[in-house]
Amino acid sequence: MTNPLGNWRGMLTLFGKEVRRFLKVSMQTLLTPIVTALLYLLVFGHVLEDHVQTYAGLTYAAFIVPGLIMMTMIQNAFANSSSSLIQSKVGGSLVFVLLAPLSSLEFYLAFVAAAVGRGLLVGIGVYLAAYWFIGLPIYDFITVLMFAVLASATLGSLGIIAAIWADHFEQLAAFQNFIILPLSFLSGVFYSIHSLPEFWQGISRFNPFFYMIDGFRYGFFGESDVAPGISLLITASFLLMLSALCMLLLYKGYKLRR
């Protein structure tokens, strides 16, 4: 049986290519999302300061920073894998990767690792930029890192799935605008779900992005809406499920190898 990680150099090359791809247009892929997150922080942080209930002793502006970081990370991790794959699929240059002796696992890991890389870079960027305005200490760095990596990897996987499924850019944009964006906005970035009516609290618990943000926020404040262990378990399960689906699609060559 062929070793699924037998071409590690090929995998690292593909990972390197994906990273260089987004670094070559860093104004669009790194700077723009950081500036957008800062604008959210300045506008919402100021306007809603006295209107939204957060944890005791915490300013609203400080409360939303982890959520904004996570929202930026997951949106960019998704955008990275999905836009790269759909561009090369529609443009035809994906053939160079498909002709190479790369396994499905190597393909998957290279794309997801690059998505995590972009997610972490924009996350660090938003944190450092926000630090100028709100000095935000980190309560548990390991938890922060763990949720950042897991969430970026999850959305990186979802980006691959969406790009495989989509036949053209419009379908992918619809996936992003009607699924990723609402789920990330309605995941507790701007509020604690305890401030919501009970019905909407219940609905929020079906949103996997909520657990990513809640667990990530715990890493900053040592407080969260649900136990961080549960958030970790749900986020990891979601990642496993999407990874399995992604691997299945790649292995079958669905919409890639006709």
Partner: protein, 309 residues
Amino acid sequence: MIPAVSIENIHKRYGSVHALQGIDFSIAPGEFFGLLGPNGAGKSTLISIMAGLVRADRGHTRILGNDVVRDYRRARSQLGVVPQELVYDAFFSVREVLRLQSGYFGKGRENEAWIDELLVTLNLVDKADTNMHKLSGGMKRRVLIAQALVHKPQVVVLDEPSAGVDTELRKALWEFTRRLHREGHTIVLTTHYLEEAELLCDRIAILDHGKVAALDTKQVLLARHPYRLLSLFVADAGLQLPDSLERLLVTRTDHQITLRLHKLDDQIGGVLDTLRDAGFIIRDLSTQETGLAEVFTQLTSFHTEPSAA
């Protein structure tokens, strides 16, 4: 001897279309093999199956004994494919693209010398650091060839390499392909320029409606159509053609008569004698050998200009 390419009972369906219906042949190492067929014959599908870009419904394809599905790493490492479309990654320069392709095949810095050699051989040195999207169509075609060769494959598949390139580049590509062949590579060529196949290939398979309509050496295929055309320019427009030559007549205008002669049965000397005996004064003549185009038309259901599937 292990065949360079072995295709066994390959079937492929796209919905209700049976694109490939039990294709069976092999290509020996070092052969220059032509794959011809009209639109929709299944050539591109077959090449894509060889390259692992399309999965066959049934049958096996092996590259130098390696199954393209079960042992895909070895099979793909032995195969270089020049795609028909001018596809490229607009983010990178020519050298970057070649380094990436080399890396995908597990090769590192030790392959740099070969990349430099490819840049020189394909006249890409001046463009090495130019972004792909700034290259002309001809230059992009050269890069595609370099990408296909960057991992030093034994078997090289060229899918319509001459499509959309000017005469000068086409001749340069032919010379380069011949050189690869001389160096021991097995070449598989699809083309809709039949003279290209006639000029380059040792053996030719003609596909039609997903089946092999003919598979033989170029000489044997050409011998299937043993005719030549004889065009005569005569002085008198009004003379009656002798009855014995009527069966050979293809076209006649006032001063020009075109006859189709069987290479063995109809000797040109005899035909000219018959015409002179009938009173014709022949001012000029020319002959035209039949080529692969006539064989192609005879063997396939295609009756106009053939093109790639």
